[in-house]
């Protein structure tokens, strides 16, 4: 095996890829577009009115006036939580994203502040950290209402403040769920269609026949293509993570298991692409066959939606799909940090990868009949 030959083919693949606007779009821009679209749908970017739960423990004229002012902004709709509720329990049971507690003694503290300038009162603001975008908007609205109260009461001195409390830290947001799924889906698409192209278009164009008559070996060719597939997988994974972190502020852990899953997934779906290209030789039909396999798998394997949302029989079916283990493995390895589950998922992905890749390599022929 010659490293120079592998490097030559790898570099040529990158050049070819980087010059194709269509390929760049589907590999890089499309996953980002999906993230942003799903982000807009699920994080409430399009909301014009935000619900804010309020527990008014003071139940005074001033606290009611504050609540009225919040409603008066037109951007916030308050919902009152009775003072008898245990707030932590209430948030947990009702999946509340934003809740403000006006403490008992609110009005008294404000009145006292006219005499004692050091007196202040803080509202407790419970926030679901997963709803960063909409929370930022609500915080800024609440802050501006507080500021105007402070101005009115003291001429600018901060009597009323906010204590931010992050709610349910171990509960994850849709993005924590969605982002690893997006990574798995993108690697699947890239590798399946990349392999199909090599096995149908290159065959039709005579490139495989040509290579057969040159000194490059099949092993060198497959290795260089797998290097290229890994390159694409890591580039798209990095981009997806970057968008997730920058735009949605999610927290991702880069772990060895995550790297292993990405590598194994690249081999797995390259093998699947080889098998499709082996049995469906026409380029267009092979693309359609690729779509017919990957598209339902994308939905059924819990890429965008929790498996629990689906009927029982579909859940059982999902558990035989390789993408399910990729998605779950990535979630456990990079988000939930559930390493024992991640190891089991990784083992499943590696087994799938071994079976598909070996079958793909063995059944794919360069030679014509």
């Amino acid at each position: 095996m010659r490293a120079s030959v592998i490097a030559t083919d790898f570099v040529a693949s990158i050049k070819t890829w980087s010059r194709s606007k269509g390929t760049l779009f589907w590999t890089l821009a499309f996953p980002i577009m999906l993230i942003l679209i799903f982000g807009a749908i699920f994080s409430g970017i399009g909301e014009t009115e935000y619900t804010l739960y309020i527990q008014d423990l003071d139940d005074s004229e001033m606290s009611r006036s504050f609540i009225e002012s919040l409603n008066g902004t037109g951007a916030i709709k308050t919902k009152i939580v009775t003072s008898s509720e245990n707030i932590t329990l209430y948030i947990d049971e009702n999946s509340i994203d934003r809740l403000v507690v006006i403490p008992k003694g609110y009005e008294e503290s404000i009145n006292k502040s006219f005499i004692d300038q050091n007196t202040s009162v803080n509202l407790s603001f419970y926030l679901n950290p997963g709803e960063q975008t909409s929370n930022q908007i609500v915080i800024s609205i609440v802050s501006s209402v507080i500021q105007s109260f402070n101005m009115e009461i003291t001429g600018g001195r901060n009597v009323i403040g906010i204590d931010q409390i992050s709610t349910i830290p171990e509960e994850f947001t849709f993005f924590d769920f969605f982002l690893p799924g997006m990574i798995g889906f993108t690697i699947m698409q890239t590798c399946v269609y990349g392999s199909i192209e090599r096995n149908t278009k290159f065959r039709k164009d005579g490139i495989l026949r040509k290579l057969l008559t040159t000194p490059i070996t099949r092993t060198e060719w497959i290795l260089s293509k797998m290097l290229f597939m890994l390159f694409l997988s890591f580039v798209s994974t990095s981009l997806i993570i970057a968008v997730g972190v920058i735009v949605y502020g999610i927290s991702v852990h880069i772990t060895p298991l995550m790297i292993i899953i990405i590598i194994a997934t690249s081999f797995l779906f390259s093998g699947l692409g080889m098998l499709i290209g082996r049995f469906v030789k026409d380029e267009e039909t092979a693309d359609t066959a690729g779509g017919a396999i990957t598209f339902p798998m994308m939905f059924l394997a819990g890429t965008f939606f929790q498996l629990e949302m689906m009927p029982e029989f579909l859940q059982a079916f999902a558990r035989v799909l390789p993408l399910y283990y990729v998605n779950e493995g990535l979630r456990n390895a990079m988000t939930y940090m559930n390493q024992s589950e991640a190891i089991l998922n990784t083992i499943a992905v590696v087994i799938f990868a071994g079976v598909f890749f070996i079958a793909g390599v063995l059944l794919t022929k360069w030679k014509e009949d």
Binding site: S4, V5, T8, D9, A12, K15, T16, R19, S20, D205, G206, I207, R209, K210, L211, L212, T213, T214, P215, I216, K367, E368, D369
Partner: protein
């Protein structure tokens, strides 16, 4: 000693003579007594052979694609494998290139069996597969560099670009090239390892006449540089223009083989003299009465078969003597299309003649 058949240019009858390979002999026609000189062909020495194919068969189910063919190609010649689509040309060449497995037969390239030495052989052959399209988004130079780097022995890319007249398009992406340029790049790719034998499978299919002529010039240049060229084609003009040696394949079998002159001599009907727009009634009958093989082609055109060159003068003197008026005349020699038609009853395009 070897024996060779010849067709007497005077009486048109086939006879034979014998002698040593390469010997020039005085030959007498046993039928009309005409005398002439002829040279016996050189014997193909094993060391002079670039390609040796023996007993090659390829069977797909019930279909015999290649039916027990044997031939050899001398070093430094352009060998044209001519036949209609589906005759078995590409199957044969792809077996020689080790892209397909033969059902039976042996193949040697430069004296080495491809079954056991193909990894060695690969280094010294260059191949342009049928309907080859290279990587669309690499430039011409990048494409040549890519294929060149697959070999240890490399030709100078600059020289290839220059000799193939690709300088002006070396920075253009392959996908933006015209059909003719793509084929020239394909031939150039086949040369990146400075091969001894170059296989070109239908290199001009689908090209316009100008682009085809350009590719022909490139192929002729390969022979001038000492390469052996194995060319498969279904264009008889291509084989006539380029080939030193032609093998005609039909339905998986080689039905004729030799140089163009040998094939015409052996299977052709000499030349055809065509009298255009004859204005005299009964001219065909008159010519036939004078012993000429004349026939009407419509629109007043008359075709007269000419067995040997002196017959042209006979026809012309008879036209004058019989006061036969016409617009013009032309003379055309038998071509491969006619030879193929005569041998198979079909046109090279694959069309059967009723």
């Amino acid at each position: 000693m070897m024996e060779k058949k010849f067709k007497c240019p005077d009486c048109g009858k086939v006879a034979s003579y014998s002698g040593m390979p390469g010997e020039i002999k005085t030959v007498y026609c046993p039928y009309c007594g005409s005398k002439g000189r002829a040279r016996l062909p050189e014997l193909k020495h094993i060391e002079d052979l670039a390609i040796e194919v023996s007993g090659l068969r390829k069977i797909y189910g019930d279909l015999v694609a290649v039916n027990d063919i044997s031939f050899s190609v001398k070093k430094g010649e352009i060998f044209a494998f001519l036949g209609p689509n589906g005759a078995g040309k590409t199957t044969t060449v792809e077996i020689i290139e080790s892209i397909r497995q033969p059902t039976a037969g042996t193949i040697k390239l430069s004296g080495k069996d491809i079954k056991t030495h193909f990894n060695d052989i690969k280094k010294n052959i260059g191949v342009l597969p049928q309907e080859f399209h290279s990587f669309e988004r690499l430039t011409v130079r990048e494409t040549l560099v890519y294929f060149s780097k697959l070999y240890k022995k490399r030709a100078d890319i600059n020289k290839i670009i220059e000799s193939m007249d690709l300088k002006s398009c070396e920075k253009r992406l392959y996908k933006n090239l015209s059909g003719g340029l793509r084929q020239r790049v394909g031939v150039a790719i086949a040369l990146v390892n400075d091969p001894d034998i170059v296989f070109l499978d239908e290199p001009t299919t689908g090209l316009d006449p100008k682009a085809r002529r350009d590719v022909w010039n490139v192929i002729a240049g390969l022979r001038d540089n000492g390469k052996t060229v194995f060319l498969t084609t279904h264009y008889m003009e291509e084989a006539e223009y380029l080939a030193d040696h032609i093998a005609i394949i039909h339905k998986g079998k080689i039905i004729a083989e030799g140089s163009l002159n040998e094939l015409i001599e052996r299977y052709g009907h000499g030349s055809l003299l065509r009298i255009k727009r004859c204005k005299t009634d009964g001219a065909v009958k008159t010519l036939r009465e004078k012993g000429f093989d004349a026939s009407s082609e419509g629109n007043g055109d008359i075709a007269v078969k000419i067995d040997y060159k002196d017959r042209v003068l006979d026809v012309l003197s008879n036209l004058r003597h019989e006061c036969i008026e016409y617009e013009s005349i032309d003379i055309r020699r038998s071509n491969l299309e006619e030879i193929f038609l005569q041998l198979t009853g079909a046109k090279l395009t694959g069309e059967e003649i009723a």
